[in-house]
Symmetry: C2
Subunit: 136 residues, 2 copies
DNA sequence: CTAAACCTTAAAGTTTACTCTAAGTCAATA
DNA sequence: TATTGACTTAGAGTAAACTTTAAGGTTTAG
């Protein structure tokens, strides 16, 4: 059993965010102490792992809540869950391909500016003693 | 020369967004017709290409505005521009590695649920004529 | 036994990046 | 020339995902 504080440390989510996720239906059935404090199990942590995975790959909290609610509705929702995951996987793959394309552009631009900078600094060194020699 | 409508089509950004980007300092010096209409040049389009590239790889509009303003401030800002791009490139690489890790998890989950679904449908077919046969 | 450090809820506030509205100007066409 | 439709600005509104606040109950170390 973990306190909300423990879980916050383990997941990197703030305690505020953990309560918020519960309110939004992303985490369900977290047990409580007699005093009403949340007591997370290892299963809850696992569920949070999936939630973070989906969230960090661009799934909206609303969709995640939908997925979680399907998970709790029994086996007749398996087809829809599979279809959601399959679609999401496609989205992630597309996103990664796009990122790679953009990365190439950033790399190219960086090369371009680096060369420009080298030329500029060479010229600067030739023409004058520069006050900003100690630039890292 | 392109109208805001043309540029909207070419970039996929709405006309609202294009004006908004201008207001926020992401695009500068767009020419105007005698009637005050925006007239974008090929250079503006190129600049927009870089803006979209940076934005779609996770740079905030504020940072992009900063980069653009450096670009317009002369060669003494080259070092900072290079450093921004270098840092951004690192971020993109980190993000891609993270995505790959999460993708593996999604793939694994998908496999898990697909197998569960197959088992479920097999059992379903064995035990009863199901009303929802025409599921895709 | 009391004070500090936790926990609770409900609700308001914040940030980012748009997106839309209103009121008016400009351009091309019937 | 009148109307349609695209353009202009300023500013209000929206959605998502938190984040903070307020007001109060619980637990545990000293």
């Amino acid at each position: 059993m973990y306190s909300i504080q423990d879980v916050s440390k383990k997941t990197g989510l703030s305690t505020h965010t953990l309560r918020y996720y519960e309110k939004e239906g992303l985490i369900c059935g977290v047990e409580r102490s007699q005093g009403g404090f949340r007591q997370y199990t290892d299963e809850d942590l696992e569920a949070l792992g999936l939630i973070c995975c989906l969230k960090n790959t661009g799934m909206s909290l609303q969709e995640i809540a939908r997925f979680v609610s399907l998970t709790r509705s029994g086996e007749h929702t398996l087809a829809e869950r599979v279809s959601m995951l399959r679609q999401h996987r496609e989205n992630v793959l597309d996103r990664m391909a796009e990122m790679q394309k953009y990365l190439d552009k950033v790399t190219w631009k960086l090369k371009f500016y680096t060369e420009k900078l080298n030329a500029y600094e060479a010229a600067e060194g030739k023409n004058s003693e520069c006050a900003c020699k100690d630039r890292a």
